[in-house]
């Protein structure tokens, strides 16, 4: 594999606030849209049941509002992405246009899936996040800068400290978030490890 994995030091763009704790991956991408063998086209189904009624008519939802259509930074609350391990969830958000997510906390499998796609999931406390969500409502076209390397988020005149998990920061900024080739290069050590395990008999 010769493809370079991009180093992701930062992400920026306008924001979209998605409020509420415990937003699960069934909400982010309902299971019926997972009856597919590729991730292509999942973007339009992100948060589908929150965004459309039974007749597929749009409901009130930030992702339906014209001012948020170009958003790249999603601002969420606590335990975002809990539930199912479906990578379809971050895939749908990414394909809708999201490059980074700022939140109070993330479910771990979801955050891991985001990392595997090069999407930073940075955290800040409740007050910081709600202030940012309110600011985004008032400034839907203004950019938010997520500095992964320095663990800050800047919007308007404000810069706040955020937390980026150490491994995530290194993986993103050093361009090692796609781990396949890296781990493949240790194939001999893997084979040795396999041979050393008592239960491996093949």
């Amino acid at each position: 594999m010769t493809d370079e994995i991009p180093e992701i030091d930062s992400a920026s763009g306008s924001g979209v606030p998605i409020r509420g704790n415990d937003i699960d991956t069934d909400q982010i991408i309902p299971a019926r849209f997972m009856k597919v063998v590729t991730f292509d086209g999942l973007g339009e189904f992100a948060f589908f049941d929150q965004r459309y009624d039974e007749n597929d008519e749009p409901k009130e939802h930030p992702m339906n509002e014209p001012q948020f259509q170009d958003a790249a930074i999603m601002v969420v609350n606590a335990n975002f992405g809990c539930g199912s391990s479906r990578e379809h969830a971050p895939q749908a958000l990414m394909r809708w246009g999201i490059d980074a997510i700022i939140g109070e906390s993330f479910a771990e499998i979801f955050a891991g899936n985001c990392l595997a796609l090069g999407i930073p999931t940075v955290t800040a406390d409740h007050e910081t996040v709600t202030e940012l969500q309110d600011w985004v409502d008032e400034h839907p076209d203004a950019d938010i800068d997520v500095d992964v390397e320095n663990e800050t988020v800047t919007y308007g005149e404000t810069t706040v400290d955020v937390t980026v998990d150490d491994a995530q920061r290194k993986a993103l900024t050093e361009g090692v978030w796609d781990t396949t080739a890296l781990m493949k290069s240790n194939a001999d050590a893997v084979a040795e490890k396999a041979a050393s395990l008592p239960y491996v008999d093949d």
Binding site: N21, A31, M34, D49, I109
Partner: protein
């Protein structure tokens, strides 16, 4: 330890880490290297795959011109989309048929064993792994499914992973992971009559919260856990993820070993049992192991727990009042208000009497033999209430066959239950088994998220299998302990 040069304890990032636990030992045993990110490259002893989360990973392998590195340590089944009524091919649902065909092609090309519906051993991935003896103590197990934590019941470290990680595992048989803290959850005392493993885990999640386990792996211990059968331990470990924990496990003991002996692998390779037992014993948490946190719950105080809301943490004892949102911690109040509106429940009342339209006995949480036996004990001699649609979806073809051999199918069908083929079914509504409109279900599954069972207005009440049976026959949420002439010992 051999072949483990790269990782040293000194390089772990967290300083106050647990020591001497099963987690620490199995982690160390499977460490291949330390990655530049500080993550550990962990060997995966078993990789289970299914039709929903693997096809894209096989696609990525193809794009990169990579092959499946360890097909013999990979095992496939089909469960999420498989119909539970008519399984003849092609499936009626074109999308389901396409996913099935894709999986068949992928496993054939890679030489991966596949428990397909013609094998007599197909079923939910977390039911068949243990059944076949693929799941063993001291293993690392991964699968593109969050309920992979189920396998921790055997003292394995089992994690749900995403599709890009599936790609990693297919290509390298390893996964990049960060080490977590270990919280010991000690459930003391004896569980009361009618109280099951499901109630224990719903209570744990209620107390510690749906995100209480973030950053942790849960070790379940204590008298009440040790006294559970393997199926009960699986129910508990299964829902670790609903509490935010990356994995959950129980230390292996004689109950584990007795169960393993009966599995396909050890029936066929009995000599392996004695060869492996010393390893299994060696990875048990030490008596003086250090934990990052310890929580104790008095199991003797528990009663059957049911959910009143739309997260698994929104549970309540069957005789206890549904909490008022304002009595909950501030960060839980909005979610509780929305959940109570969705469910149409009133604070101060109990869940007893909440009317249901559907009773679903199934899922990787509660669709094994003891679950079906206990539920059948409640159903026997009774009839499903008018207007209630009740179904049993066994966890695997083997569970189904064993239940039929005991005549459980007749008990259920005579009472008015549908007796279905094995699969995930209405747990997540990816096949035709779905709630309609605002139907309410009494469900032995693991998630009551809005929309989870196929209808975005549907309402799910999680409970143990006997409670599902009780709700099916009365037509409303019922304290099974109060049903007359039923043994709940």
């Amino acid at each position: 330890m051999s072949g483990n040069a790269a990782a040293t304890t000194a390089s772990y990032r967290v300083t106050d880490m647990s020591e001497g636990t099963l987690y620490d030992k199995v982690w160390e045993e499977h460490t291949v290297s330390e990655l530049p990110t500080g993550q550990t490259q962990l060997f995966c002893g078993l990789h289970l795959i299914h039709e929903v989360t693997s096809p894209q990973a096989f696609g990525m392998l193809q794009e990169r011109d990579l092959e499946v590195a360890y097909p013999n340590r990979t095992h496939a089944t089909v469960d999420h989309i498989v119909p539970t009524s008519d399984q003849s091919r092609p499936f009626r649902d074109d999308a389901a048929e396409e996913m099935m065909a894709e999986l068949e092609q992928n496993v054939r090309d890679a030489g991966i064993n596949f428990s397909d519906p013609t094998s007599g051993e197909q079923g939910i991935v977390h039911v068949i792994g243990p059944e076949k003896g693929l799941t063993q103590p001291g293993m690392t197990i991964v699968c593109g499914d969050s309920h992979t934590s189920t396998h921790g019941a055997f003292g394995a470290l089992a994690f749900g992973i995403g599709t890009s990680q599936i790609r990693d595992v297919l290509a390298t048989q390893t996964v990049a992971m960060e080490k977590k803290k270990v919280r010991k959850i000690e459930v003391t005392g004896e569980l009361g009559p009618g109280v099951e493993a499901k109630d224990v885990i719903l209570e744990i999640i209620r107390r510690l919260g749906t995100e209480g386990g973030v950053g942790y792996v849960y070790e379940y211990a204590g008298e009440a856990i040790e006294n559970l059968d393997m199926e009960g331990r699986m129910s508990i470990c299964n829902m670790s993820i609903e509490g935010g924990a990356r994995a959950g496990y129980v230390n292996p003991d004689e109950t584990t070993y007795d169960w393993l002996k009966e599995t396909e692998y050890f029936q066929e390779n009995p000599e392996r049992f004695d060869e492996l037992k010393p390893y299994w014993e060696s990875i048990r948490s030490d008596e003086d192991a250090e934990y990052d946190d310890v929580v104790t719950i008095d199991g003797s105080e528990l009663e059957p727990v049911v959910t009143w809301g739309t997260t698994p943490g929104q549970g309540v004892g069957i005789t206890q009042p549904i909490p008022a949102p304002e009595d909950l911690p501030e960060e839980k109040q909005d979610t509780a208000r929305m959940a109570q509106e969705h469910m149409g429940v009133t604070p101060g009342e109990t869940m007893e009497g909440y009317e249901i339209d559907v009773a679903f006995l199934g899922s990787c949480t509660n669709a094994r033999m003891p679950d079906l036996r206990r539920a059948a004990g409640v159903v026997e001699g009774r009839q499903v209430a008018d207007d209630v649609r009740a179904m049993v979806v066994p966890g695997s073809q083997r569970v189904k066959a064993a239940a039929e051999a005991e005549g459980l199918d007749e008990i259920f069908t005579e009472a008015g239950f549908e007796w279905r083929e094995a699969g995930c079914s209405m747990c997540l509504g990816m096949n035709e088994d779905q709630l309609e409109g605002d139907e309410a279900s009494a469900s032995s599954s693991n998630r009551n998220f809005i929309g989870r069972q196929g209808s975005k207005d549907g309402r799910t009440v999680l409970m143990n299998p006997r409670m599902v049976a009780a709700a099916a026959v009365t037509g409303h949420v019922t304290d099974v302990r109060e049903l007359k002439e039923v043994s709940v010992a």
